[in-house]
Symmetry: C2
Subunit: 209 residues, 2 copies
């Protein structure tokens, strides 16, 4: 189905906001890309801020939705091995954080969070509150089932997320596009760090590498 003009406007606005920031982008710029005059945009949105606000709402909901589907895929993993554990971390970055739309949301939020409270809240929930809550549950479950030695699941979750964030930002927080070399380097670095994590906390020492 062909996307509606309103959807095209939102897509384009996200493209531009995520690189140049909300204030830098003019309503003319958006219209030019979509192929309609700026005045027509006011038929679809009350004003410029309305576009940003709609995008922020979409980001908030969309991140939750995609996270859910991503988690379902994770739970399909039956056997926890070191290889699976590392693969899950790599997938978290490559198929979730770097997923085209989510990555654009992240970049938009990174700019807007500095002056927009709503953006700051969503950013924080996305990178801290939500994943920490999720990881805590997973590690709790792993302790109950004996995969992991007894420990504080909240602290494990923090350690885990700090590694994900570190690698993600080290390789993908700049101005340039995501290069395949960066992806490869990020994968290798995360692999090393998660292997250490696995070795530290997991009880059974399965095949490593």
């Amino acid at each position: 189905m062909e996307p509606s003009t309103k959807e095209k406007l939102l897509d384009t606005a996200l493209d531009l906001f995520s690189v140049n920031g909300y204030t830098t982008v003019s309503i003319r710029d958006i219209g030019k890309v979509v192929g309609i005059k700026e005045s027509s945009i006011y038929y679809h949105f009350k004003n410029k801020e309305d576009i940003l606000h709609t995008l922020l709402k979409q980001a908030e909901q969309g991140m939750q939705l995609r996270k859910d589907s991503f988690n379902q895929a994770l739970h399909a993993v039956t056997k926890i091995t070191c290889g699976n554990f590392i693969m899950a971390g790599i997938a978290y970055i490559e198929h979730y954080l770097l997923e085209e739309r989510i990555y654009k949301w992240i970049r938009m939020l990174t700019i807007e969070k500095q002056r927009n409270e709503e953006a700051a809240t969503i950013y924080h929930r996305f990178f801290f509150a939500a994943p920490l809550e999720h990881h805590t549950k997973v590690f709790s479950y792993m302790m109950e089932t004996g995969y992991i030695k007894e420990d504080d699941p909240v602290e494990l979750a923090a350690e885990y997320q700090s590694l994900i964030l570190f690698v993600f930002q080290k390789y993908f927080s700049g101005a340039s596009m995501v290069a395949p070399e960066s992806k490869q380097a990020a994968r290798e670095e995360l692999e090393v760090l998660l292997k250490r994590f696995y070795t530290r906390y997991f009880d059974r020492e399965e095949m490593v590498e």
Copy 2:
């Protein structure tokens, strides 16, 4: 000594850029705060971009300078104990990353890095290249002197910096000012995480808490 007009302009520009971003702030805004007309600003700077570029250069140099003096203070620590190790990490955040001017630079770079390559480079050096290189040296030294078990110092440095970054961003990456409660919460969380780190890698088990 009274700061020169040029210095006042730069300070004000940093204040405004670090919250609203370069493009959002007008040259009129800066002049208004300093108390001179916009046209007078062109006596001190070639154009608006010249102001940003001067600030970026200052950030690049200033971060190096302040880091050096900070490191000297660290090296004055004679005995490495768990308490000292944790205190060093807390000081890294509270007296370096949160130092007024550095914190403003960080906020400015966070916005500009998305579209400005120069800003992206400085940001990366500041949060990754420079600290990782430094930590690697420190951990190498600690291994040679037997403080730490044999391990890969580069990987230890990555783990350490990931914890610092995690706590810093979790509590100080939003739109609002740095609240004392956030500072306290950040300190407590970092304390827990660094204590785990210390216990994991340091050989001698000294008084803990």
